[in-house]
C-alpha cells in the first residue's frame, strides 16, 4: 500500500524563485570569468610583519598604561600654575586698564576743590586775576542777600566772637 503511494508521487513540492535558473547561471559565469582574469589583490606585506606585530601591540598597551599614570601626577601642578597665572593676569588687567575715566573739572567734587584751596596759599591778587570785571562789580557785594540763618551759623563758628561783642 505504502509502496504504491510512493510510486505515484512525482513532484517534491519544493519551489524556486522566478527566473532563478537563468539568474544563477549569469551570476556564476560572471564570477568565474572575473576570477579567471584576476584572482588576488596584489597587496603585499613586509617580511616577518605578522611575527613582530604582536609584540608591537603588546608594547603599545604597556606604554598606554604608563602614560595614564604620569598624567595624573602632573594634574595638581597644572592647576596651581594656572591659578597663579590667572591671578597675575587679573591684577595686571586692573592696574593697566582702569576704564575710560578722564579727569576733568566736572568730575571733581566741589568738596575736593574746596579742600585743595584751603591747603594752598593764594593771595587776593591771584584771586582777582581770575575774576572777570562783571563779577567784581561792587553791586554783587551789596545786592546779595545773606539769610539770618547763614549769619548766625557764621557768628557761631567764629572763635573771636567775644572780641566782636566787647568792641
Amino acid at each position: 500500500m505504502k509502496q504504491k503511494k510512493l510510486d505515484t508521487i512525482k513532484t517534491s513540492r519544493f519551489k524556486v524563485p522566478k527566473d532563478y535558473f537563468s539568474q544563477v547561471e549569469g551570476q556564476i559565469r560572471g564570477e568565474v570569468h572575473l576570477k579567471n582574469k584576476v584572482k588576488t589583490s596584489g597587496f603585499d606585506v613586509p617580511d616577518s610583519y605578522f611575527e613582530t606585530i604582536e609584540n608591537n601591540i603588546a608594547k603599545k598597551l604597556e606604554d598606554n598604561k604608563k602614560v595614564k599614570v604620569i598624567f595624573l601626577f602632573n594634574w595638581k601642578k597644572t592647576i596651581y600654575s594656572a591659578a597663579a597665572i590667572a591671578a597675575c593676569l587679573a591684577l595686571m588687567f586692573n592696574l593697566f586698564y582702569n576704564g575710560s575715566e578722564e579727569l576733568t573739572f566736572d568730575s571733581l567734587e566741589t568738596a575736593s576743590i574746596e579742600n585743595y584751596l584751603e591747603q594752598e596759599d593764594y593771595t587776593s591778587y591771584e584771586l582777582a586775576a581770575l575774576l572777570t570785571e562783571a563779577e567784581l562789580n561792587t553791586n554783587n557785594f551789596t545786592d546779595t542777600e545773606i539769610s539770618e540763618e547763614s549769619l548766625e551759623d557764621y557768628l557761631l563758628e567764629q572763635s573771636d566772637l567775644e572780641d566782636l561783642i566787647t568792641q
Binding site: 551570476q27 572575473l34 589583490s41 596584489g42 597587496f43 603588546a58
Partner: protein
C-alpha cells in the same frame, strides 16, 4: 558552556586576561589585517589601523556584552577604524571620500607593498567606484572568503541582501574591466 563563552570569560577575568588576549591577537591578526588593508589600500595605514583596532578591543573587552560573536565585534571595530581613517585623510587633502579613494588607489602604482600588475591595479580602480557597503561585501567575499553567514553577523544585514549586493558588485566590476 561553549568555546566562545569560555574564551570571553577568560578575556574578562583579570587573572587570565593577559594570556587570553595574546591568544586573541595571534588568532585574528592576519584576518583583521587583510580586512583593513582592503579598505585603506596602503600597508602603513593598515598597520596603524590594525594596532588601533587591537588596542580598542583590549580597552573594551570588559564592555563586550556578547550580543554578537566576538569576531563580528572585532571586525566591526576594524571596519569603523578603517573608514574613520579614510575620512580623516579626505579632510586632510581636501577631497571627498570617493576622490580620496581614487587618490589612494593611484598611489598604489608607487607603493612598494603593491606588487600587482596592470589588471590588478584596474581591479582596485573598479572597486572604489562602488558604493561603500558594496565595496565591503565584495572585498570580504571575493578576497577574504568570509561566509555569507558570518558576513551577515558582521554587517548586520540579511544574507539575501548581501548575496544580491555581491552579484551586483561583480557585474559592475566586470563591466569596468572590459571597457577601455
Amino acid at each position: 558552556m561553549d568555546n566562545e563563552h569560555l574564551f570571553i570569560q577568560r578575556l574578562t577575568d583579570p587573572a587570565t586576561k593577559e594570556v587570553a588576549y595574546r591568544e586573541l591577537l595571534s588568532l585574528y591578526k592576519e584576518r583583521l589585517y587583510w580586512h583593513i588593508r582592503h579598505i585603506v589600500k596602503s600597508h602603513d595605514d593598515a598597520d596603524d589601523v590594525l594596532q588601533n583596532t587591537f588596542i580598542k578591543v583590549y580597552k573594551n573587552l570588559d564592555n563586550f556584552k556578547g550580543y554578537s560573536k566576538l569576531f563580528s565585534w572585532m571586525y566591526r571595530i576594524a571596519t569603523n577604524e578603517s573608514l574613520t581613517l579614510i575620512k580623516k585623510n579626505a579632510k586632510h587633502i581636501h577631497l571627498n571620500n570617493e576622490e580620496t579613494q581614487d587618490f589612494l588607489v593611484n598611489n598604489l602604482k608607487a607603493d612598494v607593498y603593491f606588487e600587482g600588475n596592470e589588471i590588478q591595479l584596474k581591479l582596485q580602480q573598479a572597486i572604489v567606484t562602488l558604493p561603500e557597503k558594496q565595496q565591503l561585501v565584495f572585498n570580504m567575499t571575493y578576497f577574504q572568503d568570509i561566509t555569507y553567514k558570518n558576513l551577515s553577523d558582521i554587517l548586520e544585514t540579511s544574507e539575501g541582501a548581501l548575496k544580491a549586493s555581491y552579484h551586483i558588485a561583480v557585474k559592475k566590476i566586470e563591466a569596468f574591466l572590459t571597457q577601455d
